[in-house]
């Protein structure tokens, strides 16, 4: 009798154990399929593999800048800011107007470079200001309202920004001249364009700066405190409203930078650009664990690579299924591991 009543180590309730099992087996199946798929492609076309990976990383960097905006805002007020993608679109439009129409720069020369840098600052200021205004006018009033209300407001805001996009850009895609060089370097048969290098040169410092601000400065500390507990933060003398505004400003600024980089590297703008890229960026943020800054960057790079591989590899679904692949990843993650790759598992607060 006594032998059967042996104390087992507690590993969670039956439901938790079952969930863990589902998660693990799901991850194993997906991992196996991924390995087979990547292996087959690697053997078949190694150079192409490297090539699309580079392209994917480049797109991933762009997604990272947008994804950070989602993750920052979600981290602090638990709101999925649907309008963020459209803010990025406005940033792209602003940059094109700034460089081409207001400053008449069409070639890659010294004047072009100076305008590019000016446009970077201007676009960041522009989008940051708009994001702060959106928060001030629409979201702040709804901060204590039931979740559904700010979410619907954010969707409405997204439509409002798209309307501005239609009026500003026109309802069809628009081509723009670019001021950054479009040359290429070949390295072991892999083409690395100058655009990629510029993208890295602009995005990497921004990401480092952001990490510094959030982790080392007093403002960053206030942000983290507000994210943890608004009321406690207020009691500690933190101006919660100002901190949230600051967060929106940073998120907006990053979206503005992404807008400029996108517009300069791709050269086309469209009013519904923000919707698609915003969703991809949001997926990245969720993949990495929403609310986690490193997670957003990691998720964005992964999504970029997966998308690049799917679009460019010989054995793949191809570009026309690109969106479907990304959203399938999103749904799988939310089903299997809602906390994301780097996020901490949280139970719903009660």
């Amino acid at each position: 009798m006594k032998a059967t009543v042996e104390a087992k180590k507690f590993t969670g309730t039956r439901g938790q154990v079952r969930r863990k099992r589902i998660e693990l087996s799901g991850a194993a199946i997906i991992g196996l399929l991924l390995v087979v798929w990547l292996g087959a492609n690697l053997i078949k076309a190694p150079t192409q593999f490297a090539q699309v990976t580079v392209l994917g990383l480049r797109n991933g960097l762009l997604y990272a800048l947008i994804a950070l905006g989602y993750t920052l805002v979600y981290g602090i007020i638990e709101l999925i800011n649907f309008a963020h993608g459209d803010l990025f679109m406005l940033g792209a439009l602003f940059s094109s107007y700034f460089i081409t129409i207001w400053f008449h720069q069409e070639n890659s020369n010294l004047a072009g470079w100076v305008t590019f840098l000016l446009a970077l600052i201007a676009a960041m200021l522009f989008c940051g200001t708009i994001n702060v205004l959106i928060e001030r006018l629409a979201y702040r009033k709804l901060r204590r309202a039931p979740k559904l209300a700010p979410l619907i407001t954010a969707v409405g805001m997204s439509f409002l920004l798209q309307f501005i996009g239609i009026k500003w850009n026109g309802s069809t895609p628009r081509q723009w001249p670019t001021v950054i060089p479009h040359g290429e370097y070949v390295w072991f048969g892999v083409i690395i364009s100058q655009v990629t290098i510029i993208l890295i040169l602009v995005a990497a410092p921004l990401l480092t700066l952001l990490t510094f601000v959030v982790n080392k400065t007093k403002r960053g500390k206030a942000m983290r405190a507000t994210a943890q507990d608004q009321d406690a933060a207020r009691l500690m003398g933190i101006d919660v409203n100002k901190t949230i505004s600051f967060t929106f400003a940073i998120g907006g600024a990053l979206a503005g930078a992404a807008g400029l980089l996108y517009q300069q590297s791709v050269g086309t703008t469209n009013y519904n650009l923000g919707f698609q890229l915003g969703l991809i960026a949001f997926t990245s943020a969720v993949l990495g664990g929403i609310g986690n800054l490193n997670g957003a960057v990691l998720g964005a790079l992964l999504i970029g690579v997966v998308q690049g591989l799917n679009d460019g590899l010989p054995i793949a679904l191809g570009q026309r299924w690109s969106q479907t692949v990304v959203f399938t990843i999103l749904i799988l993650i939310l089903v299997l591991k809602p906390a994301g790759l780097l996020g901490k598992a949280t139970t719903e607060k009660v």
Binding site: F159, I166, T283
Partner: protein, 383 residues
């Protein structure tokens, strides 16, 4: 009080329906109708727009069950619309010409393709959608509400893209891609078959479907399931403590909502006499959401009003107003392009200033303004 006001609404709608039917079935084609009235009707209230708005009513009522009753935000409702539409395309046309299957169809037996009776297709479309609703809901409904919104949004993006790219799925033509499936069977309705241009009779059918949805919505709400939905919407934790099975109840909301989406999809397919993949885009999901929000989440009559109003503005009101305005003042403003502004503003302003909608549901008003008192207090403190 509640009963008498409902009866008032119902009588009002019935009178409106009869008047509209008489107008379009008998008055509209009548030669003696003064040209001025004819032009006015053709510009401001064409029969096509009336029927379309009824399709929106059906779908908005379905979305109302998910969003208004159960409080789950669904941003991918267009997926159900698309699935319903393609059910009509598959089972009511000559699209699958390689087979010859008839089931009380309304065309000659020799015609190739699958021809199922319209009423049967309605059922199929609804059930297939309900199945997909459960399929997408089962793994995701335990997520937090905003995650759920995103999953539905992703689903709403994937399904139309599958149909869009569906002309070559492993060599099989599932949906005819961008060309879509055209020319559906006429609707068999006892004495005669209703073709694509019988607006008057089709109006009656759509009204009937809308009535079915209204009936379902009202009855469900009064019953055990409806009360469970409201309980979940108001406080999930309390509801589960009181013994409401959360998953089953939420899934039921999803299934019923999706069923309505399927009905709407089939109805829309017969309305435009075909299904086209590019018509099923995200803005339709938002459009429907705006209808529910504008009218009043959870209130059937409000949602109907919101659906009729917004769909009329979108299909007729705005273009007609634009045309009149431009003719009158000699301007060339593109009014239909303002729809984005309109929907955006409706969502934002309603949420900021009148969260309970035009015709509020009393219970919901209390919940939606829960935080306001605290906000006032903190505002006073800071002064």
């Amino acid at each position: 009080m509640a009963v008498s006001s409902q009866r008032k609404w119902a009588t009002g709608y019935l009178i409106a329906v009869v008047l509209l039917f008489i107008t379009y079935q008998f008055l509209f084609p009548w030669d003696g109708l003064p040209m001025g009235i004819y032009d006015f009707l053709q510009l401001w209230l064409p029969p096509m727009a009336v029927n379309e708005s009824l399709v929106y009513v059906i779908c908005a009522l379905g979305l109302n069950i998910v969003v208004g009753y159960a409080g789950l935000l669904d941003l991918g409702y267009v997926a159900f619309w698309a699935i319903g539409g393609y059910c009509a395309g598959w089972f009511m046309s000559e699209f699958f010409y390689m087979v010859n299957l008839h089931f009380f169809g309304s065309v000659a037996k020799v015609a190739p393709g699958i021809h199922v009776n319209f009423w049967g297709v309605l059922l199929i479309g609804g059930l297939v959608c309900a199945f997909f609703g459960i399929l997408i809901g089962a793994p995701t409904l335990r997520l937090k509400s905003d995650y759920l919104a995103i999953v539905t949004l992703g689903f709403g993006e994937i399904i139309p893209q599958v149909f869009f790219n569906g002309d070559d799925i492993g060599g099989f033509n599932l949906s005819n891609g961008t060309k879509g499936i055209t020319i559906l069977d006429p609707i068999p309705a006892g004495i005669k078959n209703i073709g694509p241009f019988d607006f008057g009779y089709k109006f009656i059918i759509f009204v009937f479907l809308a009535f079915v949805m209204i009936f379902i919505s009202l009855r469900l709400r009064k019953g055990r399931l409806g009360r469970a939905w409201l309980a979940i919407r108001e406080d999930e934790l309390a509801a589960s403590m009181m013994g409401v099975p959360l998953m089953q109840t939420k899934l039921a909301a999803y299934a019923v909502g999706a069923f309505a989406g399927g009905l709407g999809g089939v109805a829309f397919a017969t309305h435009v006499d075909g299904v086209y993949a590019e018509r099923f885009n995200f803005s339709i999901s938002i459009f429907l959401l705006a209808m529910v929000v504008l009218g009043g989440m959870g209130n059937v009559w409000g949602v109907i009003l919101g659906a009729l109003l917004l769909s009329w503005i979108n299909s007729t009101g705005l273009p007609a107003f634009g045309q009149t305005f431009n003719n009158r003042f000699g301007t060339e403003i593109n009014f239909p392009s303002f729809t984005f502004l309109l929907f955006g503003l409706v969502l934002i302003l309603m949420m900021l200033y009148k969260r309970e909608g035009l015709i509020p549901e009393s219970r919901l008003r209390l919940i939606l303004h829960e935080g306001d008192v605290e906000e006032d207090l903190s505002a006073k403190e800071s002064k």
